[in-house]
């Protein structure tokens, strides 16, 4: 200990913090042993980890079988039989899509990655070219996946697996956000017709389960269409999922709109911006930014809800998994198949979640505490 020293006012130097405030010991004390109960919980957690982690590792990796032609290949091992995944990987990914045409799905997937880049990345070179590609992408993807115009047509009943889940999820997300924004603006509109229509749509759709919509889309639509007119089952599911998600997004976006002070719109109007300009440049950029967590939450829910289309007979990732489980060659491997499917859902949803956290952090910089 140094002895107390006095300084003339205005001359006090910055001193280093006391030693017990920094370093690894301080970290341990602050984070693991800050009190008796926390210390006890630390030991308890450590014990649990020791009990749980090794058996899981054992099952999933050390004693697992990764390849084989049937269930018998796994007979010797005590761990997971991942052979079912490797053997049936194509069905998990492509469903019943003709194997000689799966390259089209691969190209469509690469195209998807390129198409989303300008919307997700803050700055990309050649942004204009990227955006043009994005806008053209839906048609390109439709052509690649469904065929026609020189490509072998593939009926949507053969679409399946992760590819189908992705088609429903991405279409739902891309179509429901603009629709949700329009509904939210409509709900705030001064025009009575627009307001009433928006409120009615939102409240009706939110009051009915998604499965109900899917059932209605798959069964009841036929009653209203003339004889002989068919309407693709996948298309019906896409519409049902999109409308459903849009109603929820509308309420999320409305929360954001309400968080923007009235003065922002007044300032925009006073400068001569019209309603759409004020919304596009002033209100929505701020409103959407404040509700990014809610929007991404809705997207994650939507992506997981795509598994409900299994109920109307579409072979998405989950329904495909179910079909593989019932396969005689691989009987009794439901744990492996479902763990793998769950892992795929988790990867996508966790990715969205991390992206939203990153986005919030980036957009938050430099504009805090304003107005």
């Amino acid at each position: 200990m140094t002895e107390a020293k006095t300084y003339t006012p205005g001359q006090h130097p910055n001193l280093p913090p006391p030693p017990n405030m920094v370093g690894s010991m301080a970290w341990l004390r602050d984070n693991l042993f800050s009190s008796w109960t926390n210390g006890a919980l630390t030991f308890l957690s450590a014990a649990l980890l020791i009990f749980i982690v090794p058996p899981v590792l054992d099952w999933a990796f050390l004693n697992a079988t990764f390849s084989g032609e049937s269930r018998d290949a796994c007979a010797a091992a005590t761990g997971a039989c991942w052979a079912v995944i490797t053997a049936r990987f194509d069905q998990f990914v492509y469903g019943l899509y003709p194997s000689e045409a799966t390259w089209r799905i691969n190209i469509a997937f690469v195209g998807l990655l390129i198409a989303v880049t300008p919307w997700l990345a803050p700055r990309v070179p050649f942004k204009k070219a990227f955006v043009i590609f994005s806008l053209a992408y839906p048609l390109l993807a439709l052509w690649l996946l469904a065929g026609g115009l020189g490509l072998e047509p593939v009926y949507t009943g053969r679409w399946g697996g992760f590819m189908l889940t992705l088609v429903i999820g991405v279409t739902g997300i891309v179509a429901s956000l603009p629709l949700g924004i329009m509904l939210a603006l409509g709900r705030q509109s001064d025009l009575p017709i627009v307001h009433t229509l928006s409120v009615t749509f939102i409240e009706v759709v939110r009051g009915v389960p998604l499965i109900m919509f899917l059932f209605m889309a798959s069964n009841m639509l036929n009653l209203f269409l003339p004889q002989g007119v068919t309407f693709d089952l996948l298309m019906r599911a896409l519409i049902a999922v999109t409308l459903f998600s849009a109603a929820y997004l509308a309420e999320v976006v409305r929360g954001g709109l309400q968080a923007i002070p009235k003065g922002q719109l007044e300032a925009a109007q006073a400068m001569g911006l019209n309603y759409w300009q004020a919304m596009a440049y002033i209100i929505l950029p701020q409103a959407l930014r404040t509700v990014i967590p809610g929007i991404v939450n809705s997207f994650i829910a939507l992506f997981k809800d795509t598994s409900l289309v299994a109920i109307i007979g579409l072979f998405d990732l989950l329904n495909m998994a179910k079909a593989i489980v019932t396969d005689v060659t691989w009987q009794g491997l439901s744990i492996e198949v479902y763990v793998f499917s769950a892992f795929i859902y988790w990867i996508v949803c966790f990715g969205m979640s991390r992206y939203s956290i990153w986005l919030e952090g980036r957009l938050g910089g430099g504009i805090e505490g304003t107005r």
């Binding site: 002070p261 003065g263 925009a268 006073a270 400068m271 440049y281 107005r371």
Partner: protein, 257 residues
Amino acid sequence: MSMTDNASNITGPGPAVQMEGVHKWFDQFHVLKDINLTVSNGERVVICGPSGSGKSTLIRCVNRLEAHQRGQIFVEGTEITNDVKHIDTIRREVGMVFQQFNLFPHMTVLENCTIALTKVRRMPKAEADKVAMEYLERVRIPEQAQKFPGQLSGGQQQRVAIARALCMRPRIMLFDEPTSALDPEMIKEVLDVMVDLAESGMTMMVVTHEMGFAREVADRMVFMDEGEIIEVAPPSVFFSNPASDRTKLFLSQILDH
């Protein structure tokens, strides 16, 4: 109709703002009662009165942030009606500065100033930047152009708001209590900019409690109470020899503290 004839007569060198028998209600509440006020081109009018007297509502009627229900308002000869085209025309002639600044927090200072130029006037970005920098220099903060509003002090933000309004080259400027939300030490920098603006010959309608500023720049003082214009007088008369008892009471309250 004689009114329409009047309207066409006052284009050009006529009054900047003309309010005739204007009434306004918020639901049941009669907030503006028979307002008659004419502001000439280049004139500076300061409007004062107790809170709730309708002074903010009055100037917000001039650029149609509030709609009046009875009477007529002409701005540079154009009558304010429900016609969106007229409202757009008028808003291009009238700039406004708010108590809470209302800068756009997601845009830089420069973008705040150029957004209306590029979107409403369809000016190329480079040209808009030049115009914006010119006005940011005029309010003495060109060096803050690349910052976000949240990084500026209140006084700086309000000066940006003034520059932003001036970028549209308005013929009339409305100020709605521009210094009321400022810390005391920042009021002067904003008032200095407003005095400069007044000296440049801008037509101004200012709602404020800054009586020093009013004395210095106002051509006429308007005193409002309970939705009515009680008294209109040049500052020399208004401060030394007010006609109405209500004006006297208000002045004694506001000047004594």
